[in-house]
């Protein structure tokens, strides 16, 4: 698609809406929310301006990662229905603009974090951007079906960065929240991969359903959902959160596991509409929002 760009189209300056779309705003909303919860659940008081600036830095870092991911994967995105309309494969933006935008935004986000918070948070933000772009996008994603298992660490950084921005140090609770997102990523992405499997196969991306087949992916979704549920509830018995969070985590995780059992034990035939997989995918997003909301609510109630 990008090759069919005419001289006239490339000569036009990029529209700001396309630059905004490059930052994957929907993914960014979850990143911002989990980072904010990490920051709000931290002990002590953070000046509102510094809290806002830290969250802005994390959002810009996530946007930069998204832009660099789309720059690198423009060729693959063109082969998939779900992503063919993005600015680069659709030919509305030239790759060099996307690369400059991504690198510039990444550098600025780290600088802002350094200025508004501390060097520890800026270092973690740098690691998360590099991990997502180099380790996940360039190295793991095109090579192994374990791509999103290991790459899930990139998406797990925000609450950790939020906490470190507020305190300047690490603690067990944000590490458990990191672990929670890390274990949440495989069932979340594999549920999606099950119903867009043909897209991934067409692009040659070795996602689990493409390489190991559906039955194996379904079993692994169930496995990860079970250990994720244990990790989600763990902060309560370990004494890092109160009962409010504990009960919310138990109830939400029970629903998550129930939906995963439905997906895990199912066999599909031709023309299946994949409704349980779509339900699990949609619930997994709500699950993370509600669980992190519960962390903050619990912290404020105890405080």
């Amino acid at each position: 698609m990008a090759q069919s760009l005419t001289h006239a189209e490339t000569a036009l300056p990029a529209d700001w809406r396309d630059l905004f779309a490059l930052t994957k705003p929907r993914v960014m909303s979850l990143v911002v929310f989990t980072a904010l919860c990490g920051l709000l659940a931290a002990p002590g008081h953070v000046h509102p301006v510094l809290a806002f600036s830290s969250i802005l830095a994390i959002a810009l870092g996530a946007g930069a990662s998204g832009a660099l991911n789309q720059w690198y994967e423009a060729g693959l995105d063109a082969k998939m229905k779900r992503t063919a309309g993005r600015p680069l494969p659709a030919g509305r933006l030239d790759p060099q603009t996307a690369l400059h935008f991504g690198v510039g935004l990444a550098a600025f986000s780290v600088f802002l974090m350094l200025f508004a918070a501390n060097w520890q948070a800026a270092a973690l933000l740098t690691v998360s951007i590099l991990f997502y772009v180099i380790v996940y996008t360039m190295w793991l994603k095109p090579r192994t079906p374990q791509n999103i298992v290991i790459g899930g660490a990139a998406g797990a950084f925000p609450p950790l960065i939020g906490w470190v921005a507020a305190t300047g140090s690490m603690a067990p609770l944000p590490v458990l929240l990191f672990l929670l997102i890390f274990l949440w990523t495989p069932p979340h992405f594999w549920a999606l991969a099950l119903f867009v499997r043909s897209d991934y196969a067409a692009a040659g991306i070795p996602m689990m359903p493409v390489v190991a087949g559906e039955p194996s992916t379904r079993r692994q979704i169930l496995f990860y959902a079970l250990i994720m549920a244990a990790a989600a509830i763990a902060p309560w018995p370990l004494g890092y959160t109160g009962a409010l969070y504990g009960w919310c985590a138990a109830a939400l995780s029970a629903v998550f596991v129930a939906l995963s059992v439905q997906v895990g034990l199912r066999r599909t035939g031709e023309g299946d509409r994949m409704q349980p997989e779509k339900r699990l995918f949609a619930f997994s997003v709500a699950y993370l929002f509600l669980l992190f909301g519960a962390v903050v609510a619990d912290h404020w109630l105890i405080a």
Binding site: T6, H7, A8, E9, A11, L12, P13, A14, D15, W16, G44, H45, V46, H47, V49, L50, S53, L56, F115, A116, A117, A166
Partner: protein, 49 residues
């Protein structure tokens, strides 16, 4: 040396529109950043986080 193939014509009005909208947006962003950096400096000067 001259280029044999003339450049394809493009929509001048669209070019101007995009240039103007990006310039406007950049102006707002730079203004907002100036305020943000001022307030960050004030917040840091007011004491420990």
């Amino acid at each position: 040396m001259t280029d044999e193939t003339p450049p394809e014509p493009f929509d001048e009005a669209e070019y101007r529109r995009r240039q103007r909208s990006r310039a406007n947006l950049m102006g707002w962003i730079l203004g907002a950043l100036a305020f943000l950096f001022f307030f960050i400096t004030m917040a840091r000067m007011m004491g420990p986080k």
